[in-house]
């Protein structure tokens, strides 16, 4: 199996480990906690904004945890001090 084929296979098994998807998620998250959605939430008062921000925040933390787990599973176990394989 070639290196590129192996990478493709891993990405398929662990989609959240894909760097491109991670970058896309950053943009989506920035959209969720940025203008204009935050203005829509703020228009309903500070309580609505409080709830909105922390719900989204909690979702983000969960998402990052999932990414972390996906990355961990996608990497081979490394010996002490060994750097992980490139996942570009």
């Amino acid at each position: 199996m070639t290196t590129s084929t192996a990478r493709a296979s891993k990405r398929k098994a662990h989609p959240l480990a894909d760097p491109l998807l991670q970058v896309a998620l950053v943009w989506v998250s920035a959209f969720l906690v940025g203008w204009p959605l935050i203005q829509i939430a703020g228009a309903r008062g500070v309580i609505a904004m409080f709830l909105y921000v922390f719900v989204i925040w909690g979702v983000l933390v969960g998402l990052i945890f999932a990414v972390s787990r996906s990355l961990r599973r996608s990497l081979p176990p490394a010996a002490s001090g060994e750097e992980p394989e490139d996942e570009r």
Binding site: G34, G42, V61, P84
Partner: protein, 1427 residues
């Protein structure tokens, strides 16, 4: 702890800080010691993640609440930005971590300078800018420490000199901690285990503290988050503040600006770069940190708004919002929570200050101090003292920060310093992030971008903050420099985004990016920078090796190289660290026996040395130092240059192109060489492996054959398996055990026969064998051919090929089931034997203990006995004398023991007999007394004889016969017996002479006692009845059974007879006597001995009493009847008197009414005539000529109102005449009602009687009821009219009283009629009605339902008697709540009395009134009245 002002004691609080710092020191020291012992820390990923929380400074801990109070949710952006970065951290941050490891980057400045040509000046510039931004920021943290200390202690108001230096004390403490953990070594890339551990502890403290405060405010001061938010919602002003202030207008620009700034800060803040990039030891740790850190930020941020809202709702001023976190617990919580909150803030500030100072000191020393040394501006000797220099820098920075915060206090600059610093860090983004991905970015672009960005930042943000802090003219801000509004710092070029930070971010990034791009496009990269740019672009590629000797035949002496490297490191590092670094660099560089290095090896070695040194002094300075120190000689340089020059000339390209080509081809060649070499090695290895395998296979086959031969003949089970899961071999013993053929067995795994509970163990065993490469033995249970599981001791060995590959296992097994069973039986026998021995031993011990216990018990009993216990030995001497003997006889134990008993205890007259008897006793003749009790006398100490009971027994002690005597003093018993005899005689005499009938019955009911009085009463002599059963002699025939049962019961149960107090007996002459009894059961020793009965003859007295009672009852009845008759008579006479009085009054009134009536007729005639006369005079008035007369007549007519008088006078006379008629009628009615003159039987019209009666009682009726009359045509009735009228009156008045006037007017219906020879009169009302009980008793004398005093209860009784006198009857029907109907029937002609009352319990409209009267009533309620 708490002073009288309610504050914390400064000394106490300082002690708490010291204790906390000591805890941190201990944690850090522990981590360092473990690291020194090369022991890995557990959970390093978590430690790494927690160290990132140094991002949460006191600005977060205290300031975020203030920010929330002022700007609502805007504070959240500072923590949301890092969350977004961590989401993408595997892409960006990991790239930086990889570069840090490759180039040994020690700071963010190193990252920039490494990427952009190792520019020393750029490093110095960036360091200075960061220093400008960081020192106030550190000052802000110190201020938080000092302010929180002051809040809790009130030290500013204490005026105690020593506490005025609390700030300085804290600063010194921080300096020591920073140097101890942050700056332990020169090489800042050495992992700082202690610092990371301290940061982790601090992170937990501040998180716990902040959440504790949040929970306290939310649930302690309010009723939870819902309550808090509801109150916020109910306070429009407060909500308006949160919503409008930060979010109005284009405030979302501010939101996004903060978000972007915080994203930049989390990477480029020096302290964050230090912990996140430099501090990372394993890229995998990032996978933990990427979610732990955002979760931490979420938790830290959640209670910010509730605390802010809570403080404001509780009335705290907005200006104090920064201190709500400690103010609220301090004012309303307990000291523990307050202290925790304080330590949380302390941790937040301390962590930031420690890391920030560490990184700034490293940067400052590497990028400013060392260049200055290199330029000779400061002493060369300082070069080797980098560590002390850094300590000094830390002290200076903290001192400067302290002075800064003291000088600026609450200035705008200090308060806003956090965000100002964030905006400064934003300038790293183009060069920093651009440098990672754009290889075209170069040093010039970075310079331009950074310079323009920071210049814009300084102009638009830093300078305005300085001016607002009181350093300059604010006019400059509002009107712009030189009054050019276009250049106003916070609305540069006329653009005002509503927030100074948004303005700065926009313009500075615009200029920065523009400068970076334009500068990069205009500038040129040298080869070194280009190579690094490519390496930054692709950090995950393996680094190129410079194996190939492109430098031709050039050789450099190893000694020279060693000396150069030694010089290089010795210049900057302490001796010890330098030695270690040199060893690390040279490791593997010099081949053994070689004296020179190739050019390529030399270049590789110098690069490695440079990278190692970069960890200590930074990349730029390391490059500079390496280039200065690692130099070739002129000859070597010339040779290298010549070689390169010739190659370049051959290639006909420029030097720059050459460098690129060289690098390119170097990499290609390296890859090719490496690949080729690897392939050759693999091929050779494969060929060797094939040869070895062939040999090994042949050898193995031969070996296996030998093995099988041996195995089949072995008495144990042997097998061999293959790792390729091919066929297995099992020897004959195994095949016989398993009951399979050799072929079947060969296709099975040997583990299949193992009991399923152990099968997993077998598989584990196999894995262990594989890993250990040695044999293992274990016992398994295998299924034999007969199905029985046998214990086999299995020994398995791994089989390995010559190349070390695992081939399978060889196993052997021995059936040890029988051995195990034998062992088990033996073990069980041993256990049983041991148990038996133990049991016997215990029994013996128990027996001995029982014996001792029994002896002790016996001695205790004899010592505590009330009787004397005396033991005499075979010589007749006393050998035991108990305390009771001492008490009874007066001789002490010491006096009695050893004495001859007969000498002091026996009276002289018995001594000879005693001695003779004792002699017989010694000879074995027991004697009559032994074992029995005898009464005798003994002497006491005083010589008096006392009676005793002697119980004698014997025992053998140590083979000799002893006599034991138990002597009881019976003096008192003798006296009591005498007294009892006397008492018995006296009792018998009393019984005999008693004046009562006393008999005693034995257990069978026979008479055993019969006293003299009984004899006299019954006529029987005692001899005649003693021994006979009582019931046979005295019981009456009808009472015999009852008496027998009672006596038997008493004698059997011992309970006294519960019989009738009196019963009859039959005496000798056959007559009966009534006797009153009392009895008692007599017992002896708990058993019933006798039933003793005392009787009194009450025959005569009871007869007299009964006669008296009968007489009394008759008298009482007579008296009652007499009283009733008297009352009725009184009532009747009263009514008759009233009637006579009314008749008399009517008669007397009749005469005056007669002449008044006559006169009124005459007056009427006269008045008519006079009116005619007046009319005539009026007609003649016109003829009167005298005016005066006419006037007087006119006045009189007007005054007297003659016209009205003429009309009214006839009417008055008419009314008077009507009144007289009514009076006449009343008088007639009274006379008719009373019928005074008609006391004899006469015929009367009952309708007229009803009317006259109604008129008489009209006053009682008219306000309560309407009267309906339904009179029929009835014949005159022969009656006593006055009495019947009285009946009518009673019925009508009762009917009126029965009507409840609260329900309005009722109705009384009077009806009459006749049937055959009977006339009936009915009075019906719509009143309350009567219950059945009332209906039954209504005719009883004195029965009334009216209140006391309102009725006599005789009216209806009297009416009943009147009707009875007329031989009539009364029918009564009533329903409670609906009304009552009385209907009386009287015969038209008088006949004999017979009155009947019929009660109809249905409705008042019962049809019974249409029915002729019956000769007998349905029920004769009235009869009760008769009785």
């Amino acid at each position: 702890m708490i002073t009288q002002h309610g504050s914390f004691s400064p000394l106490w609080l300082l002690a708490a800080i010291v204790a906390y710092v000591a805890t941190l020191l201990a944690a850090g020291g522990w981590a360092e010691r473990r690291a020194a012992q090369d022991r890995r820390m557990v959970g390093q990923g978590w430690l790494y993640a927690l160290s990132l929380t140094v991002y949460c400074t006191s600005w977060t801990y205290f300031g975020s609440v203030g920010s929330a109070a002022n700007s609502g949710m805007l504070y959240a952006t500072i923590y949301l930005g890092p969350t977004l970065v961590m989401l993408g951290s595997w892409v960006v941050v990991r790239r930086m971590i990889r570069l840090r490891h490759r180039y040994r980057l020690s700071s963010v400045v190193d990252l920039i300078t490494q990427r952009y040509g190792h520019s020393v000046s750029m490093g110095a510039f960036i360091t200075l800018v960061l220093l400008i931004g960081m020192v106030p920021y550190i000052g802000l943290q110190l201020r938080a420490l000092v302010e929180s200390f002051a809040v809790l202690t009130g030290v500013e108001h204490e005026h105690l000199a020593v506490w005025q230096y609390a700030d300085e004390m804290i600063v010194v403490l921080v300096i020591l901690l920073t140097c101890a953990f942050g700056l332990r070594r020169v090489d800042s890339l050495e992992h700082q285990h202690g610092l990371i551990a301290v940061l982790a502890v601090e992170s937990m403290i501040k998180l716990v503290a902040f959440i504790a405060v949040g929970v306290f405010v939310t649930w302690g001061l309010f009723d939870g988050l819902t309550d808090l938010l509801a109150r916020l919602a109910a306070d429009p002003a407060l909500q308006q503040r949160f919503v409008d202030t930060p979010l109005a207008g284009n405030s979302y620009v501010t939101w996004m600006t903060y978000l972007v700034m915080s994203m930049a800060a989390i990477i480029f803040l020096p302290r964050m770069f230090h912990v996140m990039i430099v501090g990372n030891q394993d890229e995998r740790h990032l996978m933990t940190a990427m979610w732990v850190f955002p979760l931490y930020l979420l938790l830290m941020s959640f209670f910010v708004l509730p605390i802010a809202v809570g403080g404001l709702l509780l009335g705290y001023p907005l200006g104090e919002a920064d201190w709500f976190v400690i103010r609220l617990p301090f004012d309303r919580g307990g000291p523990a929570l307050t202290l925790l909150a304080f330590l949380g803030g302390f941790s937040a500030a301390l962590g930031m200050v420690m890391v920030a100072c560490t990184t700034m000191a490293v940067m400052f020393s590497n990028h400013i101090v060392l260049p200055l040394i290199d330029r000779g501006l400061i002493g060369e000797h300082l070069r080797g003292g980098l560590l002390p220099i850094r300590w000094l820098l830390v002290a200076l920075m903290l001192t400067a920060a302290q002075l800064f915060q003291q000088g600026l206090e609450d200035s705008y600059l200090l308060i806003q310093m956090g965000l100002i610093s964030f905006a400064a860090l934003l300038q790293f983004v183009p060069a920093g992030i651009g440098g990672l991905y754009w290889t075209g970015g170069n040093k010039r672009g970075a310079w331009w971008g950074l310079a323009l960005g920071w210049a814009t930042w300084a102009y638009t943000l830093l300078l305005p903050a300085v001016v607002r802090s009181g350093f300059g003219d604010t006019q400059w801000l509002t009107s712009g420099p030189w009054a050019i509004e276009f250049l106003r710092p916070q609305a540069l070029f006329g653009l005002d985004l509503g927030s100074p930070y948004a303005n700065t971010a926009f313009w500075s990034l615009l200029f920065n990016v523009s400068g970076y791009v334009v500068g990069s496009l205009l500038g040129q990269q040298d080869s070194d920078e280009a190579a690094i740019a490519h390496a930054f672009r692709a950090p995950f590629d393996k680094p190129q090796r410079r194996e190939s000797d492109s430098a031709g035949k050039l050789r450099i002496a190893c000694a020279t190289v060693r000396e150069q490297i030694d010089n290089l490191f010795s210049r900057y590092l302490p001796r010890q660290e330098a030695t270690l670094a040199i060893e690390r660099v040279q490791q593997g560089a010099f081949a053994e026996g070689e004296t020179s290095l190739s050019g390529a090896a030399y270049l590789e070695l110098t690069a490695r040395a440079e990278r190692t040194l970069a960890g200590a002094i930074g990349a730029a300075m390391a490059r500079k130092a390496a280039s200065e120190t690692l130099r070739l000689s002129d000859r070597e340089t010339a040779a290298l240059q010549a070689t390169l020059a010739s190659q370049v000339a051959d290639l006909q390209i420029t030097p720059q192109q050459l460098r690129e080509q060289v690098d390119y081809f170097r990499s290609l060649q390296t890859m090719s060489d490496t690949h080729g070499q690897a392939m050759e090695e693999k091929i050779a290895a494969l060929e060797e492996a094939v040869r070895a395998r062939d040999l090994a296979d042949a050898s193995r086959r031969e070996s296996e054959q030998r093995f099988r031969s041996l195995a089949d003949s072995a008495p144990v089970m042997i097998w061999m398996t293959s790792s390729t899961h091919g066929e297995c071999y099992y020897n004959r013993a195994w095949v016989a055990f398993a009951g399979r053929s050799a072929g079947e067995a060969a296709r099975e795994e040997w583990t299949q026969g193992i009991h399923r509970d152990q099968r997993a163990d077998a598989l584990t065993l196999i894995e262990m064998v594989k890993a250990q490469k040695s044999g293992i033995e274990q016992v398994f249970r295998f299924r034999r051919v007969d199905g029985e599981y046998r214990h086999l001791r299995v020994h398995i060995l791994p089989r390995h090929g010559v190349d070390g590959t695992f081939l399978g296992i060889v196993g052997s097994a021995v059936d040890i089931s029988d051995l195990l069973a034998a062992e088990q039986t033996l073990r069980r026998s041993n256990e049983e034997l041991e148990a038996l021995v133990g049991e016997r031993t215990r029994e013996l011990q128990q027996s001995y203990a029982d014996l001792q216990e029994r002896e002790h018990t016996i001695r205790t009993i004899t010592d505590s006995a009330q009787d004397a216990v005396v033991m005499v030995d075979d010589a007749g001497l006393v050998s035991y004398w108990n305390p009771a003997a001492e008490r009874i006889f007066g001789w002490t134990s010491a006096e009695a023991l050893g004495q001859r008993l007969s000498d002091f205890l026996l009276p002289g007259r018995f001594r000879a007999a005693h001695l003779a008897a004792y002699e017989r006793f010694q000879q074995g003749t027991p004697g009559s007394m032994l074992g029995g009790t005898a009464e005798m006398v003994a002497l006491n100490r005083a010589g008096d004889e006392i009676p005793v009971d002697l119980s004698l027994s014997s025992t053998v002690l140590r083979g000799k016969l002893h006599a034991i005597g138990l002597l009881r003093d019976i003096t008192e018993r003798r006296l009591a017996a005498d007294a009892l005899l006397l008492e018995k005689a006296w009792s018998e005499e009393v019984v005999r002479l008693a004046p009562s009938f006393i008999i005693g019955l034995g257990r069978s009911g026979e008479i055993i006692l019969f006293n003299d009085h009984a004899e006299r009463l019954t006529g029987y002599a005692p001899d005649e009845v003693i021994g006979q059963r009582w019931v046979d002699v005295f019981a009456t025939p009808e009472g015999r059974d009852e008496d027998s049962t009672a006596i038997d019961h008493a004698l059997q149960t011992g309970e006294a007879i519960q019989h009738q107090p009196e019963n009859s007996i039959v005496i000798r002459d056959g007559s009966r006597r009534l006797v009153s009894w009392s009895s008692q059961v007599m017992r002896e020793n708990g058993e019933v001995k006798m039933l003793l009965s005392f009787g009194v003859d009450v025959t005569e007295s009871r007869r007299a009493a009964r006669e008296l009672e009968d007489n009394y009852a008759e008298l009482k009845l007579l008296n009652q009847r007499l009283e009733e008759a008297q009352n009725q008579l009184l009532q009747s006479e009263k009514m008759a008197s009233i009637g006579q009085l009314a008749a008399g009054v009517a008669h007397e009134i009749n005469n005056p009414i007669g002449f008044v009536s006559s006169n009124l007729q005459t007056l009427k005639t006269y008045s008519e005539q006079m009116l005619q006369m007046i009319v005539a005079y009026q007609a003649a008035e016109p003829t009167i000529g005298d005016v005066d007369t006419l006037a007087r007549i006119a006045d009189l007519k007007e005054t007297l109102d003659l016209e009205f008088m003429q009309q009214d006078l006839p009417a008055l006379l008419k009314e008077s005449e009507d009144g007289l008629h009514r009076v006449k009628k009343i008088v007639v009615d009274l006379k008719d009602f009373s019928h005074v003159s008609e006391a004899e039987w006469q015929h009367a019209d009952l309708n007229a009687g009803l009317d006259s009666t109604l008129n008489v009682v009209w006053n009682e009726v008219k306000y309560k009821a309407r009267v309906d009359k339904h009179y029929g045509t009835i014949p005159p009735v022969e009656c006593l009219a006055a009495q019947l009228n009285q009946v009518f009156m009673n019925l009508i008045v009762n009917a009126a009283h029965a009507i409840d006037d609260r329900k309005g007017m009722g109705t009384i219906t009077l009806s009459t009629g006749h049937q055959d020879d009977w006339v009936w009169v009915e009075v019906k009302d719509t009143g309350r009605g009567m219950t059945e009980e009332v209906q039954r008793r209504v005719f009883e004398p004195f029965f009334t339902t009216k209140p006391v005093g309102k009725g006599t209860g005789l009216g209806m009784s009297l009416s009943y008697n009147i009707v009875h006198k007329h031989n009539g009857r009364i029918e009564l029907s009533s329903t409670p709540g609906q009304g009552t109907r009385f209907k009386l029937w009287v015969p038209v002609e008088h006949r004999d009395p017979e009155v009947t009352v019929m009660t109809c319990r249905d409705t008042p409209d019962h049809e019974s009134h249409d029915r002729p009267p019956l000769p007998r009533p349905f029920s004769r309620a009235g009869e009760k009245g008769d009785s």
